[in-house]
């Protein structure tokens, strides 16, 4: 490894601009003549829009225009789409209601936009929005999954009778029935996976500019995938043809899934910029983020696991209801199906699995992928089940897991996924050693003598990321391929630009990707520039989500690099009068192996561009492109153990220790990887202890600010003890698996298993607030 190559914890190239206040986020950008948009949003969870009177607002100071939902329909701007087709058990396609960018007739969740005010200043737009009079006829709302599927429940969309989007299943029902008929023991569990609000710290924002002379639009937006945004805006929303729309996602302040989707606000800003012939800026505030950023999780599940007399798992049966909110968001349909039920095998050999998932409309904010997306829900279910089973079967929870671990790879689960490699025993060993499992009983006894209830909880997660092989996802209903592209430009002076379809919004790509180049060429990372987030600069790419940027985007860079190196070697061999097979690349030089003859990279690059003396028939230049489509998902896995104390007097939980042993394959920058794990753990712990998006029975959100929604703060969390075990991913040349979501996937079960262990009551839902824990102890 070079000093800045693979495996080096080099500090991040991008940090200087962030720590000096020079980052450039969307809201930092000002355009000449820019106007400001403020949306008029529904205060009702379900209502008919009888009329909108904007006459008073139009007379307010600074108002440039007031645009309403019917106008966007009249202009034939397309309805929002869901890009993954799922069929029900009976073969029927999923049933979806229309979702216009601003509601012309019916609002179905609090915060849905019905109109937008465009004004000279933000304050003027806000003031005028107060003067827009909307005549609503309130309808009965249904925010709760169970209530929404009851006969006689209010109906959200005529297209989806009973509020059911789909009733899907996976696995072999008969085989599971057979497994249960042979069972020595059956363990059952009912649980809720609480609804979360992603809350990236940068609120969503958009600036749209229409250039009349060129009939061209530019959109600055907070996106994890600007090319996907451009594609959807042009192909489906009919706002601008793809070659007349430039989408720029500059510095983006966190995403966690919530900035994958193309939201109504971006659509309206683009559409409005042509209407008012001025640039239009919209910056959401935090309340709007709570109301309109697509939420995560929100499942209720019932699970049963069958064991034989030796405590080997025979089968798993799961029935889940997933809340989609009021509309089907871009990838929402895939989250509780192919990103969830396909992971229900966990780290275990489970011969038969059958899962049913019913997706349900409710009068709440739409739900889609949030860090982990389906996999946290699966992992939470499986790992709470294993802990519950260990208690019921009266065996050590680590031993029960170990007895059932998958140990032979590749391993085909009964639910599509084929695990390529792993060593689940190794990560469990590492975590148990780190927490001193052998000493736990003594620590528990000591805590008891001090009046505290101490508990320990395991979570052995596995996830599928590096999303995803295009053919495979296409066969499962995805509307897009999930490859990635890269372009490597070696400039005439030998500096290198990498253009990637991946998008960094905190992940540190500018450093990690540069390290890949440093490793191969031996050049310092300061010689390498990573360019992303601009559809005018970068060729089509799929963006960043599903822990895919290194495994898929990084591999695309490697593939393009291989082409660049092959050509550069030919040029070097020609210059050095050697055979290209004898050329090796070391420390930025092309050397003839076994001799002292060499030529430096800048001279090779210069030769490529002067083209004075290239091999016969070679094109000038040194720039190559690659599109890389993965052959399989990657399967990061690990073991998390949480040790904590509960105060029986208050129900308050205090962390004693939290250890994480992860297998992400090869680590490029261990410092960055650990940072990703820390952040994921915080979100998983946040789900377990603090966070929940709550609606009242009328569909009013009661947690729509940081005053009401408990974000994890510094004093809610422990420091973490991390370690790594390694099995190299065989599916990509880097041997990497992806680390962005693991913490959020694995942490919540470890925490709840620890609390339920401490209090001796398994009936506990997330978030395990002191109130809930106290009642679980005292009834």
């Amino acid at each position: 490894m070079g000093v800045e190559g693979i495996g080096a914890s080099v500090v991040r190239k991008e940090d200087r601009r962030f720590i000096t206040g020079k980052g450039r986020y969307v809201d930092d950008i000002k355009l000449q003549g820019m106007t400001h948009a403020h949306f008029v949003r529904s205060p009702h969870a379900h209502a008919k829009v009888k009329g909108i009177d904007s006459s008073a607002a139009m007379k307010m100071p600074g108002v440039v225009g007031v645009l309403i939902g019917q106008q966007i329909v009249d202009d034939k701007v397309g309805n929002l789409i869901c890009g993954w087709a799922i069929s029900s058990k009976d073969g029927s396609p999923m049933k979806m209601g229309a979702w216009p960018a601003m509601a012309p007739e019916t609002v179905r969740f609090v915060g849905q936009a019905v109109a937008v005010v465009i004004a000279e200043t933000k304050n003027q737009a806000k003031d005028a929005a107060e003067a827009v009079v909307v005549d609503y006829e309130e309808l009965q709302a249904v925010p709760d999954i169970r209530a929404a599927i009851k006969p006689g429940a209010p109906q959200l969309h005529p297209e989806a009778p009973g509020n059911v989007v789909y009733d899907w299943h996976i696995g072999d029902e008969a085989a599971v029935k057979g497994a249960f008929s042979k069972a020595a023991n059956v363990v059952t569990l009912e649980l809720t996976n609480n609804r979360l609000v992603p809350n990236a710290m940068e609120p969503r924002a958009a600036i749209a500019e229409y250039n009349e002379a060129e009939e061209h639009y530019t959109l600055y937006t907070t996106s994890q995938n600007p090319h996907v945004a451009r594609l959807v805006l042009s192909a489906f929303y009919n706002i601008a043809p793809e070659h007349k729309l430039r989408v720029i996602a500059p510095d983006v302040g966190g995403g966690f899934g919530s900035k994958i989707y193309i939201y109504p606000e971006e659509m309206v800003a683009l559409w409005a910029s042509k209407k008012v012939r001025r640039p239009v800026k919209w910056t959401g505030d935090r309340t709007e983020a709570f109301l309109t950023d697509h939420h995560g999780r929100d499942h209720i599940s019932k699970a049963e696991m069958a064991f034989d007399k030796d405590n080997k798992i025979l089968g798993l049966r799961v029935k889940t209801h997933a809340n989609f909110g009021a509309y089907m968001s871009l990838f929402s349909s895939a989250v509780p199906t192919y990103l969830y039920a396909t992971l229900l095998s966990g780290q275990y050999v489970i011969p038969a699995i059958y899962a049913e998932v019913m997706g349900v409309y409710t009068n709440t904010t739409p739900v889609d992928a949030y860090r982990g997306a389906g996999r946290p829900e699966a992992s939470y279910l499986v790992e709470r089940m294993m802990e519950t089973a260990a208690r019921q079967l009266k065996v050590d929870p680590a031993e029960l897991r170990r007895k059932n671990f998958v140990t032979q790879f590749p391993y085909q689960t009964p639910v599509i996924m084929a695990y390529d490699i792993g060593d689940f025993g190794a990560s469990l060993d590492a975590a148990m050693k780190a927490i001193d499992y052998a000493g736990f009983a003594a620590r528990k006894a000591k805590a008891k003598s001090e009046g505290k209830l101490r508990g320990l909880g395991f979570s052995c997660y596995i996830e599928a990321c590096g999303i995803a092989p295009s053919k495979a996802v296409g066969s499962l209903g995805a509307g897009v391929g999930l490859w990635e592209s890269a372009e490597v430009r070696v400039n005439p002076v030998g500096t290198i630009e990498i253009l990637t379809g991946s998008h960094s919004h905190g992940q540190g790509h500018e450093t990690t990707f540069a390290q890949l180049i440093s490793e191969r060429l031996g050049v310092p990372i300061s010689q390498v520039q990573i360019i992303h987030g601009d559809t005018d600069k970068v060729q089509f790419g799929m963006g960043t989500y599903g822990s895919r940027s290194l495994a898929v985007g990084g591999t695309a860079i490697i593939k393009a690099m291989e082409k660049v190196e092959a050509k550069a070697k030919k040029i070097a061999a020609h210059a050095l009068e050697a055979s290209e097979n004898d050329i090796v690349i070391e420390n930025g030089e092309f050397k003839v192996t076994g001799t002292d003859k060499s030529i430096a990279l800048p001279m090779v690059a210069l030769a490529a561009y002067t083209a004075h003396n290239l091999p016969d028939g070679m094109e000038p230049g040194l720039k190559e492109t690659a599109f890389y489509d993965p052959t399989n998902f990657t399967f990061p896995a690990g073991a998390y153990i949480c040790e904590l104390e509960v105060d029986p007097g208050t129900g308050k939980t205090s962390f004693v220790n939290f250890v994480a042993a992860d297998d992400f394959g090869r680590l490029i920058n261990p410092m960055i990887v650990e940072g990703q794990v820390h952040g994921g753990l915080a979100q998983g712990i946040g789900q377990a202890l603090l966070e929940a998006a709550v609606y009242d029975s009328n569909g009013q959100p009661v947690t729509a600010s940081f005053m009401d929604y408990a974000m994890p703060r510094a004093d809610d969390l422990p420091s973490f003890k991390l370690s790594h075990t390694t099995t190299l991913c065989p599916g990509n040349p880097l041997g990497v698996k992806g680390c962005g979501e693991a913490g959020a996937i694995g942490a919540s079960a470890a925490v709840i298993n620890a609390i339920t262990d401490a209090i001796g009551n398994n009936k506990l839902e997330m978030p395990a607030t002191p109130n809930r824990v106290w009642h679980a102890i005292h009834g």
């Binding site: 710290m201 966190g254 540190g508 650990e674």
Partner: protein, 161 residues
Amino acid sequence: MSRVELKINGNAVSADIEDRTLLVHLLRENLNLTGTHVGCDTSQCGACVVHIDGRAVKSCTVLAGQAAGSSITTIEGISNGDDLHPMQAAFRDNHGLQCGYCTPGMIMSAIDIVNRYGGKLDEDTIRHELEGNICRCTGYHNIVKSVLDAAGRMKVSQAAE
């Protein structure tokens, strides 16, 4: 409209603003000091922390007019030319930031914490003191490490002065 005069990062500044203008909006909208961020609308997140006369304050809680006559320091004003403030360097060296959005507020709060506690800082105190700054990326682990590291560096740099 009112005229407000104050000192920002050592420079005298005057601006004509609406009376309801918050300090954070004066900085961002009128003065283009966009390093100070807005992460919420309830004074909870701390992305907008600046120093007013040397004390960390959430600039969304202060009307620009209230800051008249004060000396304001923002994230843009703490490095000495190309030389980073020890807190900035510590955040970089300890990977105390990811997306960077909460970072300016974190750094400004953290400098104030170290100024107030000096060498008596420990992890629990830092975690308690940072309760008013929300980060969604780092899980705070490396932020706490950064502040501890910077506390040492700031002591050294103060001793050298």
